[in-house]
Point group: C2
Chain length 227, copies 2
């Protein structure tokens, strides 16, 4: 059953929250809910969110439209649940990357981090695109995504500041400002690539190009190499 969003905790759904019942918490119900989510993901592979109706989701899950509303308050809520899970998975990558970053070469760590993140979203292309679409009209989606970005920005800011502190990176614009621009660049470039927009990078070029710009932005200066 759909629960109000507890912020991007996004852990596993907690089974049998109320009462002390063993685990017989319902069967049909959970099946239906899962079925709706699966239908949504499947339809998103075929067409954009705006062209999917509540009726499509209900039909796909084998229930009537009113019954859909027993499980989710709206189409947006379904997608938000799916996004929430994707974000949780991506958060795993992020922690992994931070660990790599802390112990090894920061440049290699950075590349690894960007690669993992890219892989996480590419593997759920349809959901990623739906998230961007939903963000345009839904405040909750906007808020969720904002928190995701904020997390990355904070991490990147810390990395840049650390590299500057140890003299590996030259001074420049405030680290947080750089981090915001770089993170947003990644977001946009990856989106365009997933969506197959007209000027966009080929899937297999995305990472190389982004990493190059990140490294130049962080470690290079704006001075010409030769004079």
């Amino acid at each position: 059953m759909y629960r109000e969003y507890p912020m991007p905790t996004a852990a596993k759904a907690d089974p049998a929250a109320p009462g002390r019942g063993r685990r017989t918490t319902r069967a049909s119900g959970d099946d239906r809910e899962r079925s709706i989510l699966e239908t949504a993901e499947q339809l998103l592979e075929e067409r954009p969110l705006s062209e999917i109706s509540v009726d499509d989701l209900a039909k796909g899950a084998g229930i009537s439209r009113p019954t859909f509303y027993f499980y989710f308050p709206s189409k947006d809520a379904v997608v938000l649940t799916i996004i929430d899970r994707l974000v949780a998975a991506a958060a795993g990558s992020r922690e992994q990357a931070l660990r790599t970053l802390a112990e090894g070469d920061p440049r290699a760590g950075l590349r690894q981090g960007l690669a993992d993140l890219y892989a996480a979203f590419r593997s759920r292309r349809a959901v990623t695109l739906a998230a961007a679409e939903l963000r345009m009209t839904n405040p909750e989606a906007r808020e969720l995504w904002a928190q995701v970005l904020e997390g990355w920005v904070a991490d990147v800011t810390a990395v840049i500041e650390a590299e500057r502190a140890r003299g590996a990176a030259p001074a420049g614009e405030p680290a947080r400002d750089m981090a915001i621009a770089l993170v947003q660049m990644n977001e946009r470039v990856q989106y365009a690539s997933f969506a197959g927009e007209s000027p966009s990078l080929e899937q297999d070029r995305v990472l190389d190009v982004l990493v190059d710009i990140w490294l130049r932005a962080i470690y290079g200066s704006a001075e010409p190499t030769s004079l």
Copy 2:
């Protein structure tokens, strides 16, 4: 009256296209059309496109909903017309920038170009945001924007290649790939700033940060400054 899109020509509307009539081409009609466009722009200052209905536009222009359809085939068409004009204005900035770029210091020209573009879109914040929103659901808007981006990417690619050719910029990822990523970064960063998203750059920081990253990406290398 709304005409089918002749590609982003987007010059001034041609007055009195058919016949050799002096200039009495209608009065009420053009007024209404203008009135609808003005209403749309005004409402976009207040709320997102998705929360504006055809009825709102009709009411604002002092006509009934069916009459609206005499002037425009849809809400999207109205916004597309407005975007078209903004894009035309921005195209002016672009040419201006290219001229500066050709005759003077490329770095200064680049900065000037980015500044002009930024100014052009900032001055029509609401329309810029509406364009991004419309792009999500409307193929024509997507196409129009794609052509705009394509133009910039082509220009930037040429600049990067020229700078590399004259030895002012080091080799690196393909110039066009860099151009795509940089242009898309600008798009996203500016959008976030205009929309006041949660991690986003302050209006007065946008230009400095973007220019810094552009210059580092183009002129810097990915090697550390110190070792």
